[in-house]
């Protein structure tokens, strides 16, 4: 497969929306998400439940129905290597998943088949995309070694339950990268892991990204993980992108009140003395059957202006910010913070 225009982005998402009809009204999970990803780029997506971070990737992978989202209404456009994915049939998407786009989810136990050995499952990922059985078996061992599993010959014959959580997640990564995809999508892949195991998996991913030259979308709720792995950060809330940009810009020149709220609520934040009150974000995440009409974060934002409650702010370049640093906000966060400090 070749891409004619080498300057075209690897992934281009335009106005993606996902709504789930329910008896209590449609859940408006994703409400117009647009972004692009370059070949080799690592995008970290931060958000909490209901932010749309996971649903929008399931939609572009065609996995909504398989993950409990049957009946979803998906609109907009997702072009991967120039080809439209939305509306493609399942065989076409299945051919793409695994081969061109690798996927790693949070819970390896529910993604792995308990009655097949780990070696068989990795080999299956390869043979289903055209590799011969003997070559696939050999390659499975190489992959186990690549993801840092010792004694791959022996471990390939083990079943998933014989692996620890961290080792199972490595197996999932081995399957995700088996066909050397151009894009790896990882949804909370280290959330269930212990912190030292998480650190090993993150090191492994940084290393593999370099070796394989693949792009990554790394979905997490952990600002520390995103700070360590992403080149570009995208903050999502209420099914929308509220801020996006180079990682240093988003962390050090924050322009959206929700991003700032997340950073300030962390125990290590500036001014958070030992056992002092943390600067928490008031209120609750929105009910996505009735999302707020304007900026989804407005009801929890002390800087919200009347316009924030009425009109959705567009995601636009920060005028005096780093190139590619985009924010969706009617308020000027820097000015608001300065005014607050002066008062």
């Amino acid at each position: 497969m070749t891409t004619k225009d080498t300057t075209a982005p690897l992934l281009e998402i335009r106005d993606l929306a996902v709504h789930f009809p329910t008896p209590g009204g449609a859940v408006r999970a994703v409400n117009g998400v647009s972004y692009t990803l370059r070949a080799g780029e690592t995008l970290g997506i931060v958000g909490e439940s209901g932010s749309g971070k996971s649903v929008h990737v399931l939609a572009l992978l065609g996995l909504l129905a398989a993950r409990g989202g049957a009946g979803a209404i998906v609109s907009g456009s997702v072009r991967f290597e120039g080809q439209e994915l939305i509306g493609r049939d399942e065989p076409a998407l299945r051919a793409l998943r695994g081969r061109r786009i690798g996927v790693v989810f949070q819970d390896p136990m529910s993604s792995l088949n308990p009655v097949l050995t780990v070696g068989e499952q990795i080999a299956e990922a390869l043979t289903s995309h055209g590799l011969g059985r003997a070559a696939a078996t050999r390659r499975a061992l190489e992959l186990l070694e690549l993801v840092g599993i010792r004694e791959p010959q022996r471990r390939a014959r083990d079943y998933p339950h014989q692996f620890s959580g961290g080792m199972r997640q490595r197996v999932m990564i081995a399957i995700g990268i088996a066909c050397e995809p151009k894009l790896l999508i990882a949804d909370e892949p280290t959330t269930a892991l212990d912190v030292t195991v998480q650190a090993q998996v993150l090191d492994l991913m940084r290393d593999l990204r370099k070796k394989l030259g693949m792009a990554m979308i790394w979905i997490t709720h952990d600002m520390g993980v995103v700070a360590g792995i992403a080149e570009t950060v995208q903050v999502m809330y209420g099914g929308r992108i509220l801020e996006r940009g180079p990682v240093r810009a988003v962390f050090h020149d924050t322009r959206n009140a929700y991003t700032l709220g997340l950073l300030q609520s962390l125990p290590g934040a500036a001014g958070a003395a030992h056992r002092s009150r943390l600067t928490s974000i008031p209120g609750q995440p929105p009910d996505m059957t009735r999302p707020p009409p304007g900026d989804p974060f407005a009801p929890r934002n002390r800087f919200a202006t009347p316009r924030c409650f009425e009109e959705v702010p567009p995601l636009a370049q920060v005028p005096d910010g780093a190139p590619g640093h985009l924010v969706a906000a009617w308020y000027d966060l820097r000015a608001a913070l300065a005014a607050e400090a002066a008062a």
Binding site: L266, I281, Q284
Partner: protein
């Protein structure tokens, strides 16, 4: 100095695995928690930290060791004596949804303990007590008659905390109480823990894998590895002057929410080695103990 509220000495609990293999989940653990104090217990899954919580709460029986609570030996209490202990020692769980009966009105869940221990003279007084608990944990007392599914995750955890507070406990064992909550809600619940402690001198055994939150909330910290405490001491000593190689590896693995600090972070590795037969906690600076 008054004696500690909780004194645990040489606590041990082992399980027999399916293949007959014995796992020493907790293997000779001793610690103290003072009145109004928070001890943070950290360690990886399988290190024994949750088992310690269950042993202290007497939800499980230790194989050996002593547990003294408020001056009383509680490790061997049974029947009515154990029931009498329950109000003073309460628990907050990780998953507030799983710990609330979905068909029961939340007010009734909070009232259950008060009723069982005969702590309300009549229905009106009971309802007033529950309403006061709701206000105390930041919930609207007008929502007493709602069901768990009508609340968000953070609100459900507040209900779980109200239920734990109902019987006026001295010690709360909180096992991963913020892990299942959205990031924007975690700080709210940590603030509630801090407020309740300041208001009523509660003690906490705070079990969590989020090292940042443990550091923020705890007066002292104990680090567990394979059923043993490998390091314990005042929070600042353990976090800023870690001595045990496992503690150092654990702290160095903690992701930092700053891209510059992340780029500079040096990760230390710890190679698992069996404990020496004579390994014991030794005091390196006042109150700071390291296994060696």
């Amino acid at each position: 100095m008054s004696p500690p509220l909780l004194e645990v000495d040489d606590l041990a609990r082992s399980y027999r695995g399916g293949d007959g293999h014995v796992v020493h989940a907790v293997d000779g653990v001793s610690f103290r928690i003072g009145a109004g104090e928070t001890l943070g217990l950290v360690g990886e899954s399988g290190s024994g930290k949750s088992t310690i919580g269950r042993l202290v709460l007497r939800l499980e029986q230790a194989d050996r060791g002593r547990i003294r609570f408020d001056g009383q030996e509680i490790g061997a209490l049974r029947g009515e004596a154990l029931r009498q202990l329950r109000p003073r020692l309460q628990m907050v769980f990780q998953d507030p949804f799983a710990s609330l009966n979905p068909r029961r009105r939340v007010g009734d869940s909070v009232a259950a303990g008060l009723r069982a221990h005969g702590l309300a003279p009549d229905a009106a007084a009971l309802r007033e007590q529950v309403a006061a608990l709701f206000r105390r944990v930041g919930l609207d007392p007008g929502h007493l008659d709602r069901h768990p599914h009508e609340f968000s995750g953070g609100q459900r955890q507040r209900i779980g905390i109200a239920r734990a507070l109902a019987l006026k406990p001295r010690l709360i064992v909180a096992d991963e109480p913020i892990t299942a909550l959205d990031v924007s809600i975690q700080a709210q619940i940590i603030n509630l823990f801090l407020e309740l402690q300041q208001d009523s001198g509660l003690s906490y055994l705070f079990i969590a894998h989020d090292l940042g939150m443990v550091r923020h909330l705890s007066h002292r910290v104990a680090v567990m590895l394979r059923g043993r405490i490998v390091e314990t001491g005042p929070t600042a000593a353990v976090f800023e002057d870690a001595r045990h190689p496992y503690t150092r590896a654990l702290l160095s693995a903690m992701p930092l929410p700053d891209p510059d600090l992340e780029a500079a972070r040096q990760r230390l590795t710890y190679t698992a080695a069996p404990f020496a037969p004579d390994a014991a906690l030794r005091e390196v600076t006042p109150g700071h103990w390291v296994l060696g």
